[in-house]
């Protein structure tokens, strides 16, 4: 967002910008996440396309003023459609020195910094590790700085309402939000309504926060803003018409599971043990008991998945959600579901590993564990969601596949999808094809492991059904009859059947599609999961440069979609960017003997557009030499 010369001369009228990246940053206690989500709503209402990235500290409440206590929320909005929260911010809102310290690096040269000087005390400067006050040296020269004593102005704005000093200070974020609303021409109503609802029981707080919001806005209107800073407008984007909302991945996954269960005509038994970043999946579902959802907070992950398996045996769709370390603990019980061929959905909201790793950071390093991480030959279906909204559809798909094929399905999402929000065109749930579950009920010639010819699924016979009494377990079972069998050939046959059944699922997937570009060219960028936005925006940029680059994004990790091998062979180069040390790339190489190259980033952060664009260009140059 380089302001035009015109803007420099005289700020008004509103200058038009194509896209803006704003980063709100402050102390964990400053309410930056709330501020960010309110700005998001207002921006959505204004019709921009947008993407957000909340970035909070690992500590629950790090001491005030510390750099590791800084909480950030980045939003990218534009007049065209966009898919990432943006690389470098155009605008930084820094509520205290620590927030400035950790974010100045990221900010674009010429970018705007809004600073609350009220928080720039000696003490806070020291905590942030500033020898001297950056407002008094040249360290911010490359930016346009708007330094205001937001604290003071906030306190004035709420004076007389009769808040305690602590609550009064708490209104800082609303004052700031008001100012930002004015700068970018956003409506205040949704926020006002939201504040009234939120503080319905505490009218004083509602009044004060609204007062602060308005005061910030009025400040923008009246104050003589420094040279080069004015009001802007970002025209609405041409989005597909329809009803929208903002959705985070963990919301979408929860709603997708509920929708899938409804389409399957089943109840959900969700067994889980809290773990970052999967915990709020449990929170979301525990509020949906009226949808036939039972949530069971188990004593550990093993009990969580075990309860889900037990529930599937009983006729619910057993679901268990967790993150990488939890999946590791669940692997033995997942093997039981594979051996007994019961439906089960495992949601792995991936995070930084190995071991405890970086719990609050995003990563894609559980793919191997999902596909191969069990004892014995233990195949299951692995799906991966590409965007927060896609979590909804993938969750529905996971339920459908699990029930139709009587198999565990692992759905991979990650911390970035789980917490990041995007505007989401609401699906027409009535238009979704139901897939009602058919339980076995006829004792005539019933055998618990006699398979459906097409899907190879065994019948689902529920306890409570007269005449179908049978026993299942983790020991190898005789084909059809299902009794324990130590017969060598039977074990060979059953192993092949289990593998074939999972491979059959590929026939049920759409064969591989290309998200952008032709079906042949110089380079195919193959992605999976949350890198969708970054890859697709990068590929668009590269194609605009005229490069023969295409983008295919895999939602079906195992089995791999049909036609993929052929597609890969139609490109001079195949690049597989992953937020891990190279996992999908190994699968592709072993399955298709293609010399796919890996691009790895294991930094707990999404790819930036620049990283991807540069790498693709550089690899293409190398290969075309």
């Amino acid at each position: 967002m380089e302001p035009s010369a015109a803007a420099r001369a005289q700020p008004n009228p509103r200058e038009t910008l194509d896209s803006v990246v704003i980063r709100f940053a402050g102390d964990s206690g400053d309410g930056m996440q709330l501020t960010g989500s309110q700005f998001t709503t207002a921006t959505a209402v204004a019709g921009n396309d947008l993407a957000t990235f909340p970035d909070f500290p690992a500590e629950i409440r790090a001491p005030a003023g510390t750099t590791y206590g800084v909480s950030g929320f980045q939003i990218h909005f534009a007049a065209h459609d966009i898919r990432t929260p943006g690389d470098a911010p155009d605008v930084l809102v820094a509520m205290n020195p620590a927030a400035l310290k950790v974010n100045t690096e990221l900010l674009k040269t010429g970018g705007l910094v809004v600073i609350n000087t009220g928080a720039f005390s000696k003490n806070n400067l020291a905590k942030a590790g500033y020898e001297q006050n950056p407002l008094e040296d040249d360290s911010l020269d490359r930016f346009r700085v708007l330094a205001l004593d937001i604290t003071k102005m906030t306190l004035e704005s709420v004076k007389g309402i009769g808040l305690g000093s602590k609550e009064a200070h708490r209104c800082k974020n609303m004052w700031t939000l008001g100012l930002m609303y004015w700068l970018f021409g956003r409506e205040r109503e949704p926020t006002v309504e939201w504040l009234q609802a939120k503080f319905a029981k505490k009218p004083l707080l509602a009044e004060a926060n609204i007062a602060a919001l308005n005061a910030g806005h009025i400040y923008g209107e009246n104050a003589e803003l420094p040279h080069g800073i004015g009001a802007y407008q970002v025209p609405a984007a041409k989005l597909e018409p329809g009803e929208y909302r903002n959705v985070s991945g963990n919301e979408a996954t929860a709603w997708g599971l509920v929708t899938g269960a409804k389409l399957a005509d089943l109840e959900i038994m969700y067994g889980s043990y809290p773990i970052t970043p999967a915990s709020n999946l449990l929170h979301n579902l525990s509020k949906l008991k009226q949808f036939g959802v039972t949530t069971f907070q188990a004593e550990d992950e093993i009990a969580a998945v075990s309860a889900a398996v037990g529930a599937s045996f009983g006729g619910s769709i057993g679901v268990t959600g967790t993150s990488g370390p939890g999946v590791a603990l669940k692997s033995e019980a997942i093997g039981l579901a594979i051996a007994t061929e019961l439906p089960l959905v495992i949601v792995d909201v991936q995070r930084g590993g190995p071991s405890t790793g970086l719990p609050t950071k995003t990563e894609q390093s559980d793919l191997f564990q999902a596909v191969w991480g069990r004892n014995g030959d233990a195949p299951l279906v692995v799906l991966a969601a590409a965007t927060p909204g896609d979590c909804f559809y993938m969750a529905v798909e996971a339920v459908r596949i699990a029930v139709k094929y009587m198999t565990p399905v692992m759905l991979l999402t990650d911390g970035y999808l789980a917490n990041g929000a995007e505007p989401w065109l609401l699906p027409d749930v009535d238009a979704l094809e139901p897939f009602p579950t058919k339980f076995a009920d006829d004792p005539e010639g019933f055998h618990p492991f006699q398979r459906n010819k097409e899907t190879l699924a065994r019948p689902w016979a529920l306890p409570g059904t007269p005449g179908l009494e049978h026993r299942i377990g983790g020991l190898e079972k005789q084909q059809d009859a299902g009794h324990i069998s130590y017969d060598p050939n039977n074990h060979h046959v059953m192993t092949k059947l289990r593998a074939t059944k999972v491979q059959r699922v590929a026939k049920d997937f759409p064969s591989v599609t290309v998200d952008q570009g032709e079906r042949q060219g110089d380079m195919l960028v193959v992605g999976w999961g949350s890198t969708y936005g970054a890859i697709s925006q990068s590929v668009r940029a590269l194609r605009e440069e005229g490069l023969k680059v295409s983008h295919a994004h895999l939602r079906n990790i195992w089995p791999l979609p049909e036609g993929l091998g052929e597609l890969l062979r139609s490109f001079g180069n195949v690049l597989v960017p992953e937020l891990n040390n190279g996992q999908l790339v190994k699968l592709l190489r072993s399955e298709y003997l293609i010399d796919a190259e890996s691009l790895t980033k294991v930094a707990g952060q999404p790819f930036t557009i620049r990283e991807l664009v540069d790498t693709v260009r550089e690899r293409l140059d190398r290969s075309l030499q």
């Binding site: 009803e243 093993i302 009990a303 037990g310 009983g314 006729g315 409570g464 299942i472 377990g473 983790g474």
Partner: protein
Amino acid sequence: MSPNPPKKKLTRKDFASDQEVRWCPGCGDYAILAAVQRTLPSLDAQPENTVFVSGIGCSSRFPYYMNTYGFHTIHGRAPAIATGLKLSNPELDVWVITGDGDGLSIGGNHLLHVLRRNVDLQILLFNNQIYGLTKGQYSPTSQVGKVTPSSPLGSIDQPVIPTRFALGAGATFVARSYDTSKRLPEALTAAKQYEGAAFIEILQNCPVFNDGVFDLITDRKTGPAYQLWLEHGAPMRFGADGEKGLRMNPQTLTLEVVTVGEDGVAEDDIVVHDETNHALAWMLTDLPDVVALGVLYREPSPVYDQSVAKQRELAEERFGKADLKALLRQGHTWTVT
């Protein structure tokens, strides 16, 4: 013919599966299996509504021999799997079969939590003080000094007392019996009729790897001198002709074995069993020269699966009827035209 013909009275055979029983000759598990198969019909249990869930171990082979629904799961996890099953269908009558290794070694945590949650299950722990299936290593209930392939110089682990562990976990029904006891069906009946987690420790002989550890208690001749059969409201008498009994020592807070009539011990010095008394049950878990059998403790309290069901109804009141469209629209939405 009448539209709904009277259900035919079921017999032991109706609960026996067609699978050949594969325990070692003389294994105590046979007697327990027979007792269960005999008891269920007398309680009007229906095979189709009955499920046996087990972990791994000789004891955990149990479900294969019952002509009911059955799930031979993985080692130690039966209580958690049974919890999920019960939550998915509270109508089912779910029995958990576990062993001293399956339930107290690898499965100790799930047993703790299923007991404190008070899920409506019958939990039978076959205690043979050994890992049978893996060929005879000491278990968490083996006595100190036990020589086994993994303890050539004798085990040094202090054993767990299953009933004491159960009380410590907050169990609301705790009983004890033994494989060949004529009164095992009594305990099974009480457990089935109890709403909540009913825990029964069943002393079981493993003739192959731990033969005779319970002989003193279970032997026809020596038994009576060691078996204290508890009856709610009845004095704690035992011995061949009930000559012995337990007296409370208020100083040491211990139950002492006394002989009625001898050195001034009167009838009413003998403690009367109150199965709702937690502290008493605690003392009964481990007595000096006698073993308490029957129901040590029973104090009905909220049942987990029932509370879960209640909350699902409550949810509808609180959050309104299920409406998918409304759900997706909760909070803020906007329309692009």
